[in-house]
Structures are given as structure tokens and as C-alpha cells.
């Protein structure tokens, strides 16, 4: 609920498809809030913010946003990670020239946040707002409704003050009334209670209108009696893009911080974007001796699980999944990359490549195997140099033909290939792969 980095970050979005809840930059959260608050609440919020990236020309920016030259400023990275203040990445009370210097010194520099290392590419610049009150507001979409949390003790000490956070639950389809809001604002002084209640209600309307799934202001304050978010985080449901693209404007869904793709991963990512099929590839340990190339999203996770659950996580080279009926050529290009990585830097010890999969619904197994077989033939000498042993398991339409082709390939190129169909368990070949690499030379 608070800072979502560290161990949580590692497993976020695991088994997550491309369409789901996506974090957006603070700049975009505030832009959406400012643009749509006016439409939905009929009032304006005095939010000012600017985005700075590598391509920003400060002179142009100052012309577009004149307040940058006339006010004292705050600058911080806008990279989907929190704890920026505690990490010394926030600078307060600067003029524009100082902001430019601050940015210049840090742009493109790598930082470590919660175990993830990555370069800072985007900053947000805002007016410096001296303030006393710090309020906390958080809205989360849940299965049967939305929870709304509020506290008058927001800011960086929110975790210490968690007992002061009040939460209500608004069930789906129920309109959010003042009675429902009352427990949140009951302890506020009368002169600000009405304003803050109206603000919470309007933000909730906006949350629903724009398909937010998560929104947090920690803190927001009052400027001339009007709510003003100092820090804001948001997540949108990007499956709702088809109905919101106008309202969202040019929105970015940045990659999670610290996720830097290698050249081979980028290449597969590029293939993936070009096809309606799904092609995923992540290197876990380039020196690993068990490599996988698995059909199906659910199955591919289970293959990686099983290698780990059997105690050989350290030897697992990669996670790789192909699904959604890629054509033969796509499979060929994909398999080439997997084999190249799996056979890199031979060290004389045996390796295993697990070509796995469950029982396909309608994918023609023989056809997808054609692409893999072509790649294996091309890479014959590399496979031999790496002492690669292949383990194949697959079922589904035409699997007999596909498996037969794999068996004859073994004879043709002289590489050990064990082949199984739906009569064998799905992950039996993980066990065999482990036995293979642990057997004495």
C-alpha cells in the first residue's frame, strides 16, 4: 500500500500479461487529475508540473510553463519508485538554473532502489510549496468495490502513523455519499472538512471515470484553502485504453524501474510486438546449464517453478514462453535466440535444453516444431560444442507427427534428444534435465 519497491517489486506482475494494471508516472497522474478535475468537479486545481527528460530544452520549457522562471522549484526523479526523499534524490527550493544543474548531474546515471539498478531518465519539476498540513489519500480498486483511505497525518511518516489512517469501502455500483465519507473526515476541523470531503468525492469520481485501479496522494496539502497534491502515484487499467484514449491523452506506461533488457531480450521483445502471438524471453543466469523453451503461459511458469522446486534454481538459465500460435518463421527466429544463449561459452560440462509444453488446445504441434527443428539444425555445431542434451514433451493436435520429427532429428544431427508425449507427466523432463547436468561428465 505504501512504497512498492523491494521484494514486492520482484514478484509484481509475475504471470502478468501485457494487459493489466499499469503504473504511470507522477507527472501523468497529476496531469490527469488537473485536466479532468475541472470537467468532473467544475472547479480547477492549481496544479503545476513539468516533465524533464533527455530531450528537454529548458528554454522552450520555460516559455511553455512561465511559472518555472518565477517560482522556487522542487525536482525529483519520476521513475515509478518511491523513497526518493529518503534517498537524497529530491531537491527543494531551487531556481530553474539550479534545477537544470541538478538534472544534468543525474540524468542517465544509474541508481539502486530496492535491489533494482537502473538509469534515471525522467524528472518531474514543480513549484516549491511550503506547507504545514500533510494529508494522505489512497484509493484502491478491489473485487467488490473500492477502498478509500484517508489520514490527516500524511507524509513520509505515514507508516509510523498507520493507526491514524481511516478506511471506508464503497461497494461497486453504490454511489459515494457524504454519509459514507463521514468516517474519513469526522475529526477534521470544521473550516476545512467540507473542502476535503468534496475533494475526496471528486477524486473518487475521477478515479472511476478514468479507470484508475490505484491512486495515492501522500501527501496532499492545502494551498489557499484548496487541496494540492505534493506527491502522487497512480495505476491505470490499460485494458480500458480503448475507451479512454482521448481522456488519457498521450500516456506512457514505462517499464518497471530496473528492468533493463539485454540485446537478446530486446530482440525477442521486438518480435513479440510485431506478432499477435506471444514470445517472451528473460535471461536469469547466463551461466546456467538448464535452459527452457516452453509453449504456453501457464506451462512455462510451471517449468521454471519445477526446476527451482527440485532444487536447481541456480542452474536455470532463462524463462522462455511462446504461445498464441506463432508461425513457423517466428518460432525459428525465436528458437535461434534461445539456442544461442543456451550454447554460449561452452565449458565442457553437459547442458540441457527443455523444449516443453502442455497439451495444446488447437495449436498444430508439428507446425510449431518445424521452426524449432530448423533452428536446431542450423545450430548443430554450437549444440554439440555446448554438450547440449534436449528434452522434449508436448501434446495436442498433430503431436505424434511433431514428436516423430524430433526423434528423427536426433538421429540426423546426432544430438541426444529424449521425446515424450501426453502419456508422460508435463514436467518429468525437468527431472531428467537435472539428472543429466548433475551426472558425472
Amino acid at each position: 500500500m505504501l512504497e512498492n519497491v523491494g521484494p514486492n517489486l520482484k514478484i509484481q506482475k509475475l504471470v502478468g500479461c501485457e494487459m493489466a494494471r499499469k503504473k504511470i508516472r507522477e507527472y501523468d497522474s497529476k496531469r490527469l487529475l488537473k485536466e479532468h478535475f475541472k470537467r468532473l468537479a467544475g472547479r480547477e486545481l492549481p496544479i503545476k508540473s513539468a516533465q524533464v527528460t533527455e530531450s528537454t530544452d529548458f528554454n522552450e520549457l520555460a516559455l511553455k510553463e512561465p511559472w518555472l522562471s518565477s517560482s522556487k522549484l522542487v525536482v525529483k526523479p519520476d521513475m515509478l519508485f518511491g523513497k526518493r526523499g529518503k534517498s537524497g534524490l529530491v531537491a527543494l527550493n531551487l531556481d530553474l538554473a539550479q534545477v537544470a544543474t541538478f538534472v544534468k548531474e543525474r540524468l542517465g546515471k544509474e541508481v539502486e532502489m530496492g535491489g533494482c539498478i537502473g538509469p534515471i531518465t525522467t524528472f518531474i519539476v514543480e513549484p516549491f510549496i511550503p506547507h504545514n498540513e500533510e494529508f494522505y489519500l489512497n484509493i484502491v480498486s478491489e473485487r467488490l468495490g473500492c477502498s478509500i483511505s484517508f489520514s490527516e497525518c500524511g507524509g513520509i511518516e505515514i507508516e509510523e502513523n498507520w493507526d491514524k489512517v481511516k478506511t471506508i469501502y464503497v461497494p461497486t455500483g453504490v454511489s459515494f455519499t457524504s454519509e459514507m465519507c463521514a468516517p474519513l473526515v469526522a475529526t477534521l476541523p470544521l473550516e476545512i472538512r467540507g473542502e476535503i470531503e468534496e475533494f475526496i468525492k471528486s477524486v473518487f469520481t475521477l478515479f472511476q471515470d478514468l479507470d484508475f485501479t490505484f491512486l495515492e496522494m501522500n501527501p496532499f496539502t492545502l494551498v489557499d484553502g484548496k487541496p494540492y497534491p505534493l506527491d502522487m502515484r497512480g495505476e491505470l487499467d490499460d485494458t480500458a485504453a480503448f475507451k479512454n484514449f482521448k481522456k488519457w491523452g498521450s500516456i506512457q506506461f514505462p517499464m518497471p524501474f530496473g528492468r533493463v533488457m539485454s540485446a537478446t531480450e530486446s530482440y525477442i521483445h521486438g518480435l513479440d510486438e510485431k506478432t499477435s502471438a506471444s514470445l517472451k524471453f528473460t535471461v536469469l543466469n547466463p551461466k546456467g546449464r538448464i535452459w527452457t523453451m516452453v509453449a504456453g503461459g501457464g506451462a512455462s511458469v510451471i517449468y521454471a517453478d519445477t526446476v527451482g522446486d527440485l532444487g536447481y534454481a541456480a542452474e536455470l538459465g532463462n524463462y522462455a514462453e511462446y504461445s498464441g500460435a506463432p508461425n513457423e518463421d517466428e518460432v525459428l527466429q525465436y528458437a535461434r535466440v534461445v539456442i544461442d544463449c543456451a550454447t554460449a561459452d561452452p565449458d565442457g560440462r553437459k547442458r540441457a535444453l527443455v523444449v516443453g509444453g502442455g497439451i495444446a488446445n488447437f495449436t498444430d504441434v508439428a507446425a510449431t516444431f518445424n521452426g524449432i527443428i530448423r533452428a536446431l539444425k542450423e545450430k548443430e555445431s554450437k549444440l554439440k560444442a555446448a554438450r547440449m542434451n534436449l528434452y522434449v514433451r508436448r501434446g495436442g493436435p498433430n503431436y505424434q507427427k511433431g514428436l516423430a520429427k524430433m526423434r528423427s532429428l536426433a538421429e540426423e544431427i546426432g544430438i541426444p534428444i529424449e521425446v515424450y508425449g501426453p502419456e508422460a507427466t508435463m514436467t518429468g523432463i525437468c527431472k531428467q534435465a537435472i539428472e543429466c547436468i548433475s551426472a558425472a561428465a
Binding site: Q12, C17, G145, K246, G297, V301, A360
Partner: protein, 504 residues
């Protein structure tokens, strides 16, 4: 707050009431898709159903019938243009199978849920907005209805009823013995893995009684525990198998149900995603699913919680099959399993195309074309494959010379042909215009008459869609509509944009 909790208890019990389907269940199928419907009907035939499981089809903007096979017999299934009309025409059909796209799945599903005759809605589309699904969940709970999906392949009650593409090919259905009921209830998030588990379960038990894939979304319409509680009330189900995934908290409602003693039959469970700890940063996995927020949502924590609550949880997926086997054998030893009556399923007649493909039958052609041949992977003109035509840089004239004169004519000839007939090339003998040209030519008429016969065939349903498209585009342009507004407007009116892909 209190109110909400009370509601959830009451409705959870309501959802739990047993069987969703039977051997007489009939469904309405939204958005005509030939293959999944035919697969449902083939399953029906395999199970010895007396009536087809699809009563009617809803195809927005279209009425009439669709011809499909029920065994050897060809049947006509009524097609309706609205949900209302379909429900009125088929009041006993209580399942709604929604093959709408992610854009329109929520609206059509809500329309179906509002029909008094519909009890179960299965949503296949992936990418339905979360907020829309939540509306469906709220409506279904308040009205005691069941939503399966979105983002699911569906489910199957063995020997009785199958949703859409569930369980794959006929061969697989037979191998998994889904044509007759066994004693195991199965529920998973992943639709892809459900096929694998049907197979596993058939191998080590007497088979599936009912299997449901709830779909990989953050908030599925019905949850793992919803179905487990329901299975618990079905006397024929003796044990349950659950395949969960990391992310979300759904497995914990099952943990609660187990702890409270609400589940009285053995549950074998495995939550996949233990490998998550191997990843240094957020990694995008291929499969649809929830995002995991914290230790509680990890596969390890869920497996442990399920184990602590009394479920049989193996140490890895590899040991799942043995766990299922042992649990089943224990029940059998205790005499709790009624022996299944084995039946021999009838042979489902093969479709001509797949029979030809597998080399089992041959069928005479109706038309002989000695010039163009589009039977293989690649069309050929007079025996020259399309790729060579492109690679050799042939022009329209060369193509026409191949098609009309069955050989490559010299350049001066092809240039002449290009001038004359560049705009007249067609793509096959099976469209109305080409057909009439051929018929006229076979009647012995001259070239010009034959061509004219073909050209005069152009009308609203053949080749003339461009006229309509142009009218619509001009009208939209004149009214300064954006492409989005135009398409949405047409959709609301139920009119297909003419000329695009011959269909939409």
C-alpha cells in the same frame, strides 16, 4: 461495511448451490464463431446428448440460421440479432457463452445477466476492463447468477455440457474421457493448463466430473473457492483439484473455507509461480494474470497456507500427479468411489477438410481451373508460384499472360495486355463476377460478352461494397466525425462498415 459483509456471506452460500450444467443444458452463443460451436456439438454427440447444447446464436445485426453438424445430421441453429430476441425465443437456454471482443464483452454480458432466463454467463474475451468486470460481479452477486471468466476457455461437465473450445480436440476429449462423468472436480486459473490437468486427472483417477477455468484476470467473475464450495455440494464429486497462480488473494478464501470446515471433501492443490523469487526485477510473464503485491500473494505462501489448512499440497508440480493419485486411491480403498460405468463413445464424423488433409478421403472438385491454383500454401498462376512471380519482377501483363495464355509471353505482348486489362484481374473463380464470366464463356460467348457478364454482376453484395463504404466515409467526413466516433456510431446502429475485409 457491515452490510457488505453480510451480503457476501449470503451470496457465497447461494453461489455454492451445486451443479451448473446437465445433459440437457442449452446455451445461447453470442457472436457467431463456427469452430467453437461445432466443437460443442461434436462433444454433445460424443456424450450421447439428445439435444444440441447450443439453442441459438446471437449475431448483432444478423438474423436467420447457421448450418452445423450434430453428429452426421446437418442442423440449422437459429440466429438472432439481439440478446432479448434470443432469450425470448429460447426460454430454456440458461447459459450464455460470450465470444464478443473485449470491447463489447461487458455490455453484452450485462444484457445477458439481466435476462431472467440466463443463469450462467461465460466470457471468453481477454482484456475486458477491470471496472466493467466489477459491474458484472456486483450484478451477478445481487441476482444470484454465475459469471465464468473473462479471459477463460470456459469449462466442461464431463458427459454433459462443454463451453466453447474447452478441452481441445475430439482426440483429446476422448483421451481424457470427458465424454462420461468421473468423480473429480477441477478448477484452475489458467485455461491452457486445464487441458493438461484433464489429462493428468484422467490418467490417475476415474476422470473429471466438472472442470472450470476461472480466467486469469485480477478479478475473475467467479473464484476458485466459489467453485470448490459448489463442487463440495455435488454428490458425484468425491475430491477436488485446484491449480492456482501467484498474485491475488483468491486462494485465501479457499484457505478460510477449508479452515471453517466448509469443504468436506479432499482437496489437492498447487499454486504455480514459485519461480518468482528468481527474478531480480518485475518480469513480464506470458500468461494473463494478476499482479502479485507482497509476500502473501507469492506462490510459496499460498501453498503453505493451503497445506496448513488441510489441503494436500505437493512439494512441486512434478509431484502433483502422485498426490492426486494417492488421494483418489485412498478414497477408492475407503469405498467412497462409485465405479464409473465405462461407455464407448460414438465415432464423430470427420470434417471433409481435415479428412482430406490427413489423407483418409478424397473428394472430386467442382471446378477445374487449369491456370490458377490456390490449393497449396501458395497460389500458382499456370504452375508458377506467386513468390517467383514477385521475385522475377513480373508485372500485371506477365500475370495475365500466364492466366490467359498459360505461358510467359514476350515483353511487347505483356505491355499491350497491361494497357488493355490491368484493371480487370480477379482473384479466383469462386466469386459471383468470375463465376458468371466463366459460365458465359462456357456458353460459347466471346471474350467481351463474357467479361461484361461478369462486370454486370457487381452489386451490393459482390464488389459493390466500395460504393456503400464511400457513402458512409463521405457522410462521416462531412459531419467531421473522428474515425473512432464513426466506428462507434456504426456499431451502435448495428451496421457493419461495408467493404472492409468483406465482412465488417
Amino acid at each position: 461495511m457491515l452490510f457488505v459483509q453480510q451480503v457476501s456471506c449470503v451470496i457465497d452460500d447461494a453461489m455454492a448451490t451445486g451443479q451448473l450444467f446437465s445433459k440437457t443444458t442449452q446455451a445461447l452463443f453470442y457472436n457467431y464463431k463456427q469452430l467453437p460451436i461445432q466443437r460443442m456439438l461434436d462433444f454433445d454427440f460424443l456424450c450421447g446428448r439428445e439435444t444440441p447444447s447450443v439453442a441459438g446464436i446471437i449475431n448483432p445485426g444478423g438474423d436467420g440460421f447457421q448450418k452445423l453438424f450434430f453428429g452426421q445430421e446437418e442442423i440449422a441453429i437459429p440466429v438472432h440479432s439481439t440478446v432479448d430476441a434470443a432469450c425470448a425465443a429460447h426460454p430454456t437456454a440458461d447459459v450464455f457463452i460470450n465470444f464478443a471482443s473485449f470491447r463489447s464483452a461487458a455490455a453484452s454480458s450485462l444484457a445477458a445477466l439481466k435476462q431472467p432466463t440466463i443463469r450462467v454467463v461465460a466470457i471468453i474475451a481477454e482484456g475486458v476492463p477491470e471496472a466493467d468486470t466489477k459491474q458484472l460481479i456486483a450484478y451477478a452477486r445481487a441476482n444470484n447468477k454465475v459469471v465464468i471468466g473473462p479471459a477463460t476457455v470456459g469449462g466442461v461437465q464431463a458427459g454433459a455440457f462443454k463451453i466453447g473450445d474447452t478441452a481441445g480436440t475430439i482426440d483429446n476429449i476422448i483421451q481424457c474421457k470427458l465424454y462420461r462423468p468421473g468423480s473429480v472436480g477441477f478448477v484452475s486459473k489458467s485455461g491452457g493448463m486445464s487441458n493438461e490437468l484433464y489429462n493428468t486427472i484422467a490418467r490417475v483417477t476415474d476422470g473429471i466430473y466438472e472442470g472450470i477455468a476461472i480466467g486469469g484476470d485480477v478479478f475473475p467473475g467467479s473464484t476458485l473457492s466459489d467453485h470448490i464450495l459448489r463442487f463440495n455440494n455435488i454428490p458425484q464429486i468425491k475430491m477436488m483439484v485446484v491449480l492456482g497462480e501467484l498474485g491475488g488473494r483468491d486462494e485465501y478464501s479457499l484457505v478460510e473455507a477449508l479452515k471453517q470446515g466448509k469443504v468436506t471433501k479432499p482437496v489437492v492443490a498447487w499454486v504455480s509461480g514459485t519461480c518468482a523469487t528468481l527474478f531480480k526485477s518485475e518480469v513480464q510473464f506470458g500468461h494473463a494474470g494478476a499482479k502479485s503485491g507482497g509476500e502473501l500473494e507469492s506462490a510459496q505462501a499460498k501453498n503453505q497456507a493451503l497445506r496448513d489448512a488441510g489441503a494436500v499440497v505437493p512439494t512441486s508440480y512434478e509431484a502433483l500427479e502422485t498426490a492426486i493419485k494417492e488421494t483418489f486411491e485412498k478414497l477408492a480403498d475407503e469405498g467412497k468411489i462409485t465405479p464409473v460405468k465405462e461407455v464407448k463413445p460414438p465415432q464423430v464424423p470427420e470434417d471433409l477438410n481435415s479428412a482430406i488433409k490427413s489423407g483418409k478421403v478424397r473428394a472430386p472438385t467442382h471446378i477445374i481451373s487449369t491456370i490458377s491454383d490456390d490449393r497449396g500454401e501458395e497460389p500458382c498462376y499456370a504452375g508458377v508460384p506467386m513468390s517467383s512471380i514477385v521475385e522475377r519482377g513480373y508485372g500485371v501483363g506477365d500475370v495475365i499472360s500466364l492466366l490467359w495464355f498459360k505461358r510467359s509471353l514476350p515483353r511487347y505482348c505483356t505491355q499491350f495486355i497491361e494497357i488493355c486489362v490491368m484493371l480487370c484481374a480477379d482473384h479466383g473463380p469462386c466469386v459471383s463476377g468470375a463465376h458468371n464470366t466463366i459460365v458465359t464463356a462456357r456458353a460459347g460467348k466471346d471474350l467481351v460478352s463474357s467479361l461484361v457478364a461478369g462486370l454486370l454482376t457487381i452489386g451490393p453484395r459482390f464488389g459493390g461494397a466500395v460504393d456503400d463504404a464511400a457513402r458512409y466515409f463521405k457522410d462521416a467526413y462531412d459531419r467531421s466525425l473522428t474515425p473512432y466516433e464513426f466506428v462507434e456510431g456504426m456499431k451502435k446502429k448495428g451496421i457493419r462498415v461495408p467493404g472492409i475485409g468483406h465482412r465488417y
